[in-house]
Symmetry: C2
Subunit: 308 residues, 2 copies
C-alpha cells in the first residue's frame, strides 16, 4: 500500500472499531484527511477532542464529500440504511468497507445497491470490552485476522477494490482471509457470537440467584466468573444486532452447545467421573494452539497476577 | 501471626495451590522447615528441584513426623482417604487445613475423624489455569479471599485452630471469610464451578463442529473464544472431582443458567431485540464492581494488547 492511498477517509460510526481504524490509518500514513460522522453529536465532539478525526462532519452527506474511502463502523442493524445512502451519494468509485461482526446481512443489504461505489464487506476479528471513541487504539488490529466476504461482483474495478481493502488491513497490521459470508457467519458464531451469548447468560443467571449476594459474587469472582464478565461488559446494542442478524448460525452452534452441556449435566448427575475427565482433558491442546498462533499471550491468568 | 508460627509444615499434594502456599509461607516466614509429599515421585522430585520444599518425604507417614501444620492440597476426591490417615498418624494437636474447591465433602469426611488433630476446611479462591509445582508463586493469594468452613466442633482447642488458620491466610496476603459449607458450595458453584463447566462445554462443542476447522477456531479466537480456553485449560482431574463432589449445588445453578439461556434462545429465534439488549445491558455493572473490589485489573482485554 503506497503512502496516502486515500486522500480523504470518512469514518461513519466512531466507536471502538471506527476510532481504532482511524488511529491506525493515521499511524500507517495511508489516509490524508480523516473525517468522522456519528449519529450522536456528543460522540462526534469527543472523537474530535481526542484527535481521532481531523474534521468532524455535521451530517452523513457532509462526511461523504470528496471521500475516496468510507468506513462503516455502526452497529450491524444500522448498516443497510447507511450503505443505501452511501451508494446513492458518495463519490463514484469510492471504496466502502464495513467492519460488522455479521456478514450475510451486510452482503444482502449491499447486493442490489448501485455499483458506482465498491462495497467490500469486512470483519476485523479484534476488539475489547470497551466502547466509544476514547477506547480505540492504533494497534488493535496488529496480528489479528480481518475477514473479507466479497460481493458477487466480478468486474475489474470491484476486484481492484477488494485488493485495496485487503492492502488497507495489512497496512494496519492485520492478516487477511477471504471467504464466503455463509462460512464467515458460522465460523464467527462459534468463535465469537456463542461465547458472548454464554457470557451474557451466565452473568444474568448470577444476577438472578437470590441465595448468593452480589457482594459474594464479586468477592469470589476470581474462581472463574470474572473472566466471563469481561465479555459480558461488551456493548449491548452492537451485540443485540449481531444476534438479530445471525440467527440461523447462532441457533445452529447453540444447539451443539446445549447437546454437549446435557451430556455433562447427565455425567454430573450420575457421578460419571470418567466422562467428565475425558471431556475436560480436551481444553488444553486448543489453548496451546491459540497461544502458538500468536492469538493469546503466553502467560498464566492473562498476566493478571503480579509475581513480585 | 508471629514469625515461624509453625516449626514444620507438611504439604501433601504439591500442585499449583500447594506449591504456591509453600512459597508464600516461606516468604512470610511463618514456617520453619517445609516438607512435601505427593503420590507422584516425579512431582516430589520437581518440587524439591524448584525449591518449594526443603525436604521431600518418601511417604505420607514420613511427611507427618513432627509436622505442626499439615496442608492437604490434593484433588478433592483424594481428601477423605488422606485426612483419615492424617487423623490417625499426625502429631496430636497439629493444625490440618485443606484447600479444596468443595467444602461439603471435606466437612463430611472430617466430621467423624479423631479430634486429636484439628482439621480446618479452607478454600483459597485463587488459581491459574496452570498445574504442577513449577506453576506456583508466592503472591497467588494476595488480595484474594480464603473461605473457612469450620467443623461442628466448639472446643477451645478447635476454635484456636480456626483462628490460627485464618491468621495463616492473612499472613500470605488473603482476606478471610467464615461461612457454613452449604453456602460455600452454592456460592462457589455460581462463581467458579459453573463458569468452568460452561468453558469446558464450549471448547468441546467447538471441537465437535465438522464445518469449522480447528485452524479457523484458532485464528478467529480473538472474537471471544480464547477467553474460555484459559479456564478450559485447567486441571481435568481437579475439576472432575469438583463436579462429582458438588453435584447438587452445580445442578441447581446449572438449572438457572439453562433457563436464562432458553429465554435468550427464544429471543434470538423471534428477533426480540428489546429482550436481548435488556439482558446484555446487565453485564457492565457487575464487571465494574469486580474491578472496584480489586478482584480484576482495570485494563481492557485483560491487558493483553500492547498499545505501542
Amino acid at each position: 500500500m503506497t503512502s496516502e492511498s486515500f486522500s480523504r477517509a470518512a469514518i461513519i460510526g466512531i466507536g471502538l472499531i471506527g476510532s481504532s481504524l482511524g488511529r491506525a490509518m493515521r499511524e500507517a500514513g495511508v489516509a490524508g484527511t480523516i473525517v468522522g460522522f456519528d449519529q450522536s453529536p456528543d460522540v462526534i465532539r469527543r472523537a474530535a477532542a481526542c484527535g481521532v478525526v481531523d474534521a468532524p462532519a455535521a451530517s452523513l452527506d457532509e462526511a461523504l464529500v470528496g471521500a475516496d474511502l468510507i468506513v462503516v463502523s455502526t452497529p450491524v442493524g444500522a448498516m443497510a440504511t447507511v450503505l443505501a445512502e452511501i451508494a446513492a451519494k458518495a463519490e463514484a468509485g469510492a471504496l466502502v468497507i464495513d467492519v460488522g461482526s455479521v456478514k450475510g446481512a451486510v452482503v444482502t443489504a449491499a447486493a442490489d445497491l448501485n455499483p458506482r461505489v465498491h462495497i467490500v464487506p469486512c470483519h476485523p476479528v479484534a476488539g475489547t470490552e470497551q466502547s466509544g471513541p476514547e477506547a480505540g487504539f492504533a494497534s488493535l488490529f496488529k496480528d489479528r485476522w480481518s475477514i473479507i466476504t466479497p460481493l458477487a461482483r466480478h468486474d475489474e474495478a470491484y476486484l481492484a477494490a477488494v485488493k485495496c481493502a485487503a492492502d488497507l488491513w495489512r497496512a494496519v497490521g492485520a492478516h487477511v482471509e477471504l471467504m464466503d459470508h455463509q462460512h464467515h457467519d458460522l465460523a464467527l458464531a462459534i468463535t465469537s457470537h456463542l461465547p458472548h451469548l454464554i457470557a451474557f447468560t451466565l452473568v444474568g443467571a448470577a444476577d438472578d440467584l437470590e441465595s448468593v449476594t452480589e457482594a459474594e459474587i464479586v468477592k469470589y469472582s476470581a474462581g472463574g466468573f470474572r473472566d466471563f464478565t469481561r465479555i459480558a461488559a461488551s456493548d449491548p446494542v452492537m451485540w443485540r444486532d449481531v444476534f438479530v442478524n445471525n440467527k440461523d448460525a447462532v441457533l445452529e452452534v447453540l444447539g451443539r452447545f446445549t447437546e454437549e452441556l446435557a451430556l455433562l449435566q447427565r455425567a454430573i448427575r450420575w457421578g460419571d467421573a470418567e466422562t467428565l475427565e475425558k471431556v475436560f482433558a480436551r481444553g488444553r491442546s486448543l489453548r496451546r494452539a491459540i497461544v502458538a498462533a500468536g492469538q493469546e499471550k503466553d502467560v498464566p491468568n492473562f498476566g493478571r497476577d503480579e509475581k513480585a
